[in-house]
């Protein structure tokens, strides 16, 4: 299938400052692409470029095979939901939703029918005569969604649509957006700085930092095989443990030596690691460090560690210890007997390890 959105070597400058550098993204029809990255990394700018609200400084951008360089936003067959919702304050909810159709000269009967469909879909029928000022945050969000849905566009664009909602509503709307995506089978580009939102919604994630794409992949690829230290640290909560270690070759195996404040260094053996440099950063997710006896497999090795802190979090209990001069978090089951300032035997699943070069931050395995 031809990509619905194809971005090649896109650059965007504001005067002398480069905000986007050499962006290459292609998404297939039905994809849910999430652009994720810290605040100010250029996500909104990229979305605005896709929408045609910003001109691009270099490269090309096409939607459904059509070059968009000189096409205005209204002719791109897109719909957009803004972080601020951007509802027209003086228009009723119904008028907000039908404004686009009215501008395009869609006949009244069609407008009414589509309005009815979308209102039913989003359960906002009882709000149609209200003004945006009379709605709660969640309701405004729904209306903003309605305004996009009614367009039935080739491509939906979302700019942090949930970031102004409280935590509970955010989770609800997240599920709803996911359901919408599945039922419409629409193509979506979704911007967020929230990596959990990215993981739960995306079929494909683009991680950005300072206007440069760090990694593109499925949520599983991004999570399990982060391409560099930035992605490893940014995606996942609690973050991946990044532990400085010394690597030495012992036959076919690799010996990893991790310094500890007190006592002998922790030694882990990896039978499958590639050739590694002397100094590396070992990346292990909290769930790949368990309580001894609760994890088995070829790569699992157990070692005594001094527990610094115990943080119960309902379903899991997080245990913090110190390795290689770094705080290391392990995700344990809720009934663990771990106590602060006591020793505990932890199981490290080295088969899940990521290795990074300390200077460049690039992945090594």
């Amino acid at each position: 299938m031809a990509p619905i959105l194809d971005i090649r070597n896109l650059y965007k400058n504001y005067g002398a400052t480069e905000v986007l550098k050499d962006i290459n993204i292609a998404i297939e029809p039905g994809d849910f692409l999430v652009l994720v990255g810290p605040s100010g990394c250029g996500k909104s700018t990229l979305l605005n470029c896709i929408a045609g609200l910003e001109t691009i400084s270099g490269g090309s951008l096409s939607i459904d095979g059509r070059d968009m360089t000189h096409v205005s936003p209204k002719d791109r067959d897109i719909a957009m939901v803004f972080q601020s919702y951007a509802l027209y304050p003086t228009m009723s909810v119904a008028k907000n939703i039908t404004f686009g159709m009215k501008v395009r000269g869609v006949d009244k009967a069609t407008q009414a029918r589509k309005l009815g469909e979308v209102a039913a879909q989003l359960q906002i029928e009882q709000l149609l005569n209200r003004k945006p000022g009379q709605l709660s945050g969640g309701q405004r969000q729904r209306v903003a969604m309605g305004r996009a849905l009614v367009r039935d566009p080739k491509l939906f664009l979302f700019d942090e649509p949930l970031s102004n909602l409280d935590a509970k509503l955010r989770v609800e709307m997240r599920t709803e957006i996911k359901r919408l995506h599945q039922s419409l089978n629409a193509s979506m580009v979704y911007v967020t700085h929230d990596q959990i939102e990215a993981m739960t919604l995306a079929t494909k994630i683009v991680v950005m930092k300072a206007g440069i794409i760090q990694q593109i992949g499925t949520p599983a690829e991004i999570y399990n095989r982060p391409t560099n230290l930035f992605v490893a640290d940014f995606m996942g909560s609690p973050a991946m443990n990044l532990i400085p270690a010394r690597a030495t070759r012992e036959g076919a195996a690799t010996r990893l030596e991790i310094a500890r404040n007190s006592g002998p260094p922790l030694v882990l053996m990896d039978q499958t690691a590639p050739e590694l440099p002397d100094q590396i950063i070992l990346g292990l997710r909290p769930e790949d460090i368990a309580e001894a006896g609760f994890r088995s497999g070829s790569g699992v090795q157990e070692a005594e560690c001094l527990v610094d802190m115990v943080e119960p979090a309902g379903a899991d209990t997080f245990v913090v210890t110190s390795l290689g001069g770094k705080e290391v978090t392990a995700r344990l089951h809720a009934e663990t007997s771990a106590r602060a300032r006591q020793h505990l035997s932890l199981a490290f699943d080295i088969s899940k390890a990521s290795y990074f070069a300390p200077e460049s931050g690039q992945r090594l395995n």
């Binding site: 605005n48 929408a51 609200l53 205005s72 936003p73 209204k74 897109i78 719909a79 957009m80 803004f82 972080q83 601020s84 919702y85 951007a86 509802l87 027209y88 304050p89 003086t90 228009m91 404004f99 686009g100 501008v103 395009r104 945006p132 000022g133 405004r140 305004r147």
Partner: protein, 296 residues
């Protein structure tokens, strides 16, 4: 306020009340100070000339008479003509209404463009317009007279409208621009994606939001234009003078005795429209000046 007063000990309550009364007293004094001239004008305009000569300035009229008002309106002399203020009053109406409407509309458009369409050089143009607000009118009298002459508008009402529109644009643009910068840029983006163009967005989204600032601008412009004397006296001729110029002529025409009561009545008539505008729309004026951003 009352809660605080009742929950504090009685002494503090008394202090508070004392303070409050002092405040009222001072405010009352100032109000009196400002209202006294109006009071004197009003009472004088309702007295006969004999009574004015006999009585004191602040005494109430013994026999109320409206004839000074009638004279001022329709038969006082403004030089050789003796038609009262009436024709000039209508001149002022014919000047003020189109000039206010045009300058407000142009200001709204300018403000919209400068605030929301940030084209290259927008800031420079805005600075120049601001500068225009502070050019003393005297400086431009001669060049403007030349220009009006070249345009064939010298001494005419359209000429005066033109002058007032030009000199109003600086302020009206400033008002609308400052109001529109508080409107989130996302609104324009959303409308663009919805397919609306430049004028559609202005008409359907910005104008309906603008009532408070329109009221402010209209009051401001109306007051400026109605009360203007300098342009009125410089760019008019016998039949096209605004009411302020006519008022001056009535007061200064030196035939016979000085008719204070007619002068006072004429002055009140000339000031009445601006007074009415303030009374009717004054609360919107304050509200509009303090109106904040619009939350989507």
């Amino acid at each position: 306020m009352t809660d605080l007063a009742s929950s504090s000990p009685p002494r503090a309550g008394w202090n508070r009340r004392l303070l409050r009364w002092m405040l009222y007293a001072i405010l009352g004094l100032f109000a009196l100070y400002y209202l006294l001239p109006l009071f004197v004008m009003l009472t004088t305009s309702l007295k006969s000339l004999e009574e004015i000569r006999a009585g004191s300035l602040i005494a109430l009229p013994r026999d109320v008479t409206f004839s000074p008002w009638a004279t001022a309106w329709s038969s006082a002399c403004t030089g050789i003509q003796c038609e009262g203020l009436r024709p000039y009053f209508w001149n002022s109406v014919l000047i003020a209404i189109p000039a206010v409407a045009l300058s407000t509309m142009l200001g709204a458009m300018n403000g919209y463009v400068i605030a929301q369409w940030r084209f290259r050089g927008a800031n420079l143009i805005f600075s120049l317009m601001l500068f225009g607000c502070f050019i003393p009118f005297q400086v431009v009298l001669l060049p403007m007279a030349r220009l009006l002459g070249m345009m064939g508008l010298a001494g005419s009402i359209p000429g005066l409208i033109f002058v007032h529109v030009i000199y109003g644009i600086g302020f009206t643009t400033l008002f609308f621009r400052n109001y529109y910068v508080t409107i989130p840029a996302d609104l324009v983006k959303a409308a663009k994606v919805d397919g609306a163009g430049f004028f559609r967005i202005f008409w359907s989204i910005f104008l309906p939001l603008s009532l408070p600032i329109i009221v402010v601008t209209v009051i401001w412009q109306f007051t400026q234009i109605w009360n203007d004397f300098l342009f009125g006296v410089s760019f008019s001729e016998a039949g096209t003078q605004p009411v302020t110029v006519a008022l001056n002529n009535i007061v200064n025409s030196t035939t016979g005795v000085k008719e204070y009561n007619v002068d006072m009545a004429a002055a009140i008539i000339a000031a009445l429209p601006t007074l009415i505008v303030y009374v009717v729309a004054g609360k919107y004026f304050v509200r509009g000046l303090t109106a904040g951003s619009v939350k989507g």
